[in-house]
Symmetry: C2
Subunit: 288 residues, 2 copies
């Protein structure tokens, strides 16, 4: 299956590399061309200079962009030139409503759509070990298997279009709460004079074990917060989650608390750091 | 090393069994005798009927009780009859201050003390895979290795007496936040009509992975909350944590939120359930 890739960001770039390694990648497109040129130098895979050009070359297109408007813009750019029976897999994290809108636009052109948001951080993107939460028709999901399996190790069809994004919303709530837990706990650990590396190891071996503690705890220890997953993007995702819960009249206390803390970080210039920078706030409390 | 065990509760009972299997157990004592008789039926290891009786038989005593006052009472009961050079390992979760008080009492009798709180749930206690966070003298920690290794798989000396309890406090903060995260996220997942078993699997394969999601998520799905780890005990631990942070003038938002939710659960008769019963509150919000 000749596959195109749109969006060579922190996640998209290593994901596109994995499609290339699997022999599936036919073309890449990135809005700002420098990333495309870098990718070409690394893989000898020539970037195309338009979405239309990419659409013509491919049976499947994977998209990985930042926001709802971007997904719809990319779909508008691809749709006129995609082949009948082609497949679009959107790995962006956006609202379920946007997934449904994109799917409807493509269906009118005889093109199938799967929402396929991912989780597992830049590490997972690089090693092809992402969790991928899919929404769409079972037949489209079956056809997408070679592409999905090149990108992730745990791939699940969660329901119709939008169910992937709903599952990713669940994921983002968990990540918010775990990030809160780990940052608060390690700031406390530091205040008690405990050796943080040992704390991360031993606390991470029992009922408090988590991916986040093991993979982001060490960054907190060093007070450096490389991406990872950008605060401003997680905040955007959590806003979507609040809207989804709000539509049912429900407030989500973990999400609310986290957005308050993210707001403080964004206002003080840390919005582009990894979400583990929550530690900055907690750490500062103990230094007052 | 002839080892005694005091406190055959949900954690202590399987831990004592592991010492028995390792050929280390010389005697057990439990405040209410029925548990001791049950243990004797299972192991043919005769329970003693007093702390003094246990102290006389053993080179090392492991204690695993519920509260600060219990630890001090047990230490008072053991101290007069322990041999010079004996070792007491307290696996209870109590304050660092209580650990220091117990250590001082025993030191006066020539007995070493290690605070050794554990994490890993009843599963970890049963399988001997606990994380054990120790505080005390390096020489005492060395001597305790056979006992500690029979109980856990990750054993670390965190610092002087009290450092084990401080590390356990860190652990309890993480567990509080992760329990909040998982319960809030799965209640949301249910509200979106997602298949919860698949959600637990796929969300648990990426950056949101945690012990708690994998081991307690399925209980939430079934709306049953077997122990595990009792709400009223975790609440007690979190109160200690708040006091430790409060002494530095710091509030811990994750801990505060969790204690508010635990209070509601305890007031409505769920204080003896596993902490995963947080799901009851979150679930109820969506059903209003």
């Amino acid at each position: 299956m000749k596959t195109g890739f749109v969006g060579l960001g922190a996640m998209g770039y290593p994901m596109a590399l994995n499609l290339h390694k699997a022999g599936l990648l036919a073309a890449v497109y990135n809005r700002s061309p420098e990333k495309g040129r870098q990718f070409a130098r690394e893989t000898r895979c020539t970037p195309v200079d338009s979405l239309a050009g990419l659409a013509k070359l491919c049976d499947a297109v994977v998209t990985c962009v930042s926001a709802d408007a971007d997904v719809l813009e990319v779909v508008r750019g691809l749709a006129p030139d995609l082949k009948q029976g082609a497949l679009v897999l959107d790995c962006s994290t956006v609202s379920a409503a946007t997934a449904c809108e994109a799917a409807a636009k493509l269906k009118a052109r005889g093109v199938d759509f799967l929402d396929c948001p991912v989780s597992g951080g830049t590490e997972g993107a690089k090693h092809g070990t992402l969790a991928i939460m899919c929404g769409g028709e079972p037949a489209a999901f079956e056809r997408a298997q070679p592409v999905l399996n090149a990108l992730g190790k745990r791939v699940a069809l969660m329901g119709p279009v939008g169910a992937g994004q709903a599952t990713k919303a669940v994921n983002q709530i968990v990540v918010a709460g775990v990030a809160q837990a780990v940052s608060e706990a390690l700031a406390f650990a530091e205040s008690q004079g405990l050796p943080l590396a040992k704390v991360i190891e031993v606390v991470g071996s029992g009922a408090a074990q988590s991916w986040f503690l093991a993979n982001r705890g060490p960054n907190m220890m060093r007070m450096t917060f490389p991406l990872g997953f950008r605060i401003s993007l997680h905040d955007k995702d959590l806003k979507i989650v609040q809207q989804m819960a709000g539509a049912l009249g429900v407030q989500l206390p973990v999400v609310e608390m986290t957005r308050i803390h993210y707001k403080r970080l964004m206002e003080t210039g840390f919005g582009d750091e990894d979400i583990s920078a929550l530690f900055r706030l907690k750490h500062a409390l103990f230094k007052k």
